[in-house]
Amino acid sequence: MNFKNLKLNLSNKNKDLIPQILTVVFLILIVIYFTINAQSNMGNRGISFGFGFLSQESSFDITFSLIDYDGSHTYARAFLVGLLNTILVSAIGIFFATILGVTIGIARLSQNYLVAKSAEWYVEIFRNIPLILQIFFWYFAALRALPLTVDSINFYDISFLNVKGWYVPKFVWTNFSIFIYSIIFAFILIYFLAKYAQNQRDKFGKQIPTLYISILLIIGLPFLTFLIGGVSLSFEIPELTQLSKTVYVYRGGVSIIPELISLALALSMYTATFIAENVRAGILGVSKGQKEAAASIGLTKGQILKLVVMPQALRIIIPPTTNQYLNLTKNSSLAAAIAYPDIVLVFAGTALMQTGRAIEIISITMLTYLSLSLSISVFMNWYNKKMAIKEK
């Protein structure tokens, strides 16, 4: 037998195989070890692994819910309530963080010394304080200092802010679906209009004022439904009602609970600092020559921004900003600290406490976040690809 040959063989193929096999075996061993322990632990406590509990009655209430829910509904429904609340606060947070972040990012580049400095200090202050402290501050300190229900801060008699929350008018629609269809229809029209305009521009060099027509469509079509589609909108304004000698409440309208306000405030103000830095880096990343070249072929300032700077800056801005959106969504789990009923508080908190099913519930919660994260990153990758430079 030729030992030399064997050794050579080992060094080429098996050298790659051995660490891999070791890794896999190690993983499998850990899983087996954990499973055995978990089984014996659950056996001791008289519970068995399974997701059947999801269809049981939850018998706990949730303070804030977007869908119909009370204690008689199932755990699965409670999970859904928590998930929707998480999505709600993330969506609000992302919306305001983007607006605030873009504004501050642009303000940091302002020629105006005062504006640039204030924007810089905003970023330095809010970026360097832990998010959880900011949430605590808004919830326990700032919003608790609001007046009682009786002396609410009054915004033009339609909306009221007090220590119990913010009361805003409720939209009462008739034939709401027709209204929505008209908006969808407007978007479809705009899509075709944009295609047509692009075609005209490429072929004949004609400029069609797409933006103005689009704005007209998106306002005009839904407006038409009011006139001829039988759609109508009325507002239910919250009203102060006296329950007893000292107890007042607002009836009607929509009440936005202080937990949601403070969470959305803190999330958007904190994340805005990071988005602002991304925006700033993106705009700075577009080389000066591009702007000068655009100016030299006679584009106006607005055109330079829209056609030359922004498309290039967006390419730099979007990937890190996606990351910030993801972070915001994950950070919304801090809701649990101030008892905003998000998925962590409702499901990994209350439901877990009641059922004792730690493994199932924590896995579901983590998987939910994982899929939220993955879906946002898949969407953003797609968008990135669309925005990427198409080199010929």
């Binding site: 105006n112 360097n128 605590f136 730690a358």
Partner: protein, 418 residues
């Protein structure tokens, strides 16, 4: 009507400056009077217009003094930096006016009306911040529930650490290596033993009593030291040619990066004990440290991977051509260069780690923010939330600001070095 008389130009420079500055001055007088002396000099106007008069005066004044290339250096500087267009003028005025309006009340609350003397809530009478609260609770904010008589142990541990770190800058280069190895591998054990006690005649202090700012430092320092090697190995794994190792690393990294830290901490608190043999008890602090370490290791792995990818391929090829194997190549050639590249990234991860430590309240460990939460619910000190959070925020802000400044400087320095 011909408005061209209002268009400022160089010819009547002095008169424009005189009229413009007078108007701006009136605007300032108006806002100062209305915010400090609550007198409104334009009260004869309708409410809403009178509210806006300082702005209008200021805007018009700034419009008049907007003269390009006036030859007056100060004026030119003002115009380019604060007054380049009507919009910029408006922004300038808004910023200055809101500073005038809101900074003094804030300062009053913070310093001038604040209470520093006394020992109880009742000593706070002047309406400003009640810093007595912070003064009384300061010991708890720093040391948590650690017994007073034993606090010298925490002090000793931290002072030794600072001395060692500071000393490592001054000793000759050949001893530096040993000090760093000592700091990374041996000192953590000594420090931990000193604080937890139990042997050498030191009283045992259970981890539940640890807390406050010192716990923030302990958790973040340990998590950083531990997550660094794990993160490096994961980064190497992710770039490995071997599929089983690569996919394991990717899965591990993406799993931790996809979930929020709070669920990981929940997991360590309620799910992790289920996976251990019945009756094993792992200390709360250890469980938290494991959770945070694994979580941060995933982020660290991505930072290190960035450094590995930034290295030119020639470095790998040169190392291989010298006959180096995988480990030799990475430890002697690749990692030293890659890690140097990502020092700012490591600093940023550490920053994020420090900002994440308050989350350990979910398992019942109270560092600074948690101690404030505890203190403000004390019946004797109700209503002190604002002072507590402002204090905690300030402390965290100073720590994080200094660190971020340091990492920015480092980034600049490393950029110029290359």
């Amino acid at each position: 009507m011909n408005l061209s008389i209002l268009k400022s130009d160089k010819k009547n420079l002095n008169s424009f400056i005189a009229v413009g500055s007078t108007l701006i001055f009136i605007g300032f007088i108006d806002i100062i009077l209305s915010s400090f002396f609550s007198t409104n000099i334009t009260s004869f106007l309708p409410d809403k217009i009178s509210y806006l008069t300082p702005l209008l005066f200021g805007l018009f004044g700034l419009y008049l003094i907007r003269i390009e290339f006036s030859g007056n250096k100060l004026l030119d500087k003002v115009n380019t930096n604060f007054n380049s267009s009507n919009f910029n003028a408006l922004l300038t005025l808004l910023v200055i006016f809101s500073l005038i309006k809101y900074i003094p009340p804030l300062l009053n609350w913070f310093v001038f009306d604040a209470n520093f003397a006394g020992n109880t809530k009742e000593d706070c009478t002047s309406g400003g911040a009640c810093w007595v609260f912070v003064k009384v609770w300061l010991n708890r904010f720093v040391y948590g529930l650690y017994p007073d008589s034993e606090q010298w142990r925490i002090n000793t541990a931290f002072i030794t650490l600072f001395l060692l770190v500071g000393g490592s800058f001054f000793v000759p280069a050949r001893f530096k290596k040993y000090i760093i190895i000592f700091l990374l591998f041996i000192y953590p054990i000594i420090g931990l033993k000193l604080i937890s006690g139990g042997d050498f005649g030191l009283k045992y202090v259970e981890t539940g009593a640890w807390g406050g700012l010192s716990l923030t430092f302990i958790v973040s320092a340990f998590a950083l030291i531990l997550c660094f090697p794990i993160g490096t190995i994961l980064a190497l794994g992710r770039r490995s040619k071997l599929p089983a190792i690569r996919y394991t690393s990717i899965g591990f990294i993406e799993l931790w990066r996809g979930v929020p830290l709070i669920t990981v901490l929940f997991m360590s608190a309620v799910m992790f004990p289920m996976f251990l043999p019945d009756g094993t008890y792992v200390d709360k602090l250890i469980r938290v440290l494991i959770a945070i370490t694994l979580f941060e290791a995933a982020y660290m792995a991505e930072v290190v991977r960035g450094g590995l990818q930034a290295l030119p391929k020639g470095q790998y090829e040169a190392a291989k051509s010298l006959g180096m194997g995988y480990w030799k190549m990475h430890f002697l050639i690749i990692l030293p260069q890659a890690l140097k590249l990502v020092i700012p990234g490591i600093a940023n991860t550490f920053l994020a780690l420090v900002k994440d430590t308050p989350l350990i309240f979910v398992v019942g460990l109270l560092e600074l923010a948690g101690m404030v939460n505890l203190a403000k619910t004390n019946p004797k000190w109700l209503g002190m939330a604002m002072e507590g959070y402002v204090f905690a925020g300030l402390v965290f802000w100073v720590i994080c600001y200094v660190m971020s400044r340091y990492s920015q400087n480092l980034e600049k320095k490393l950029k110029t070095e290359r």
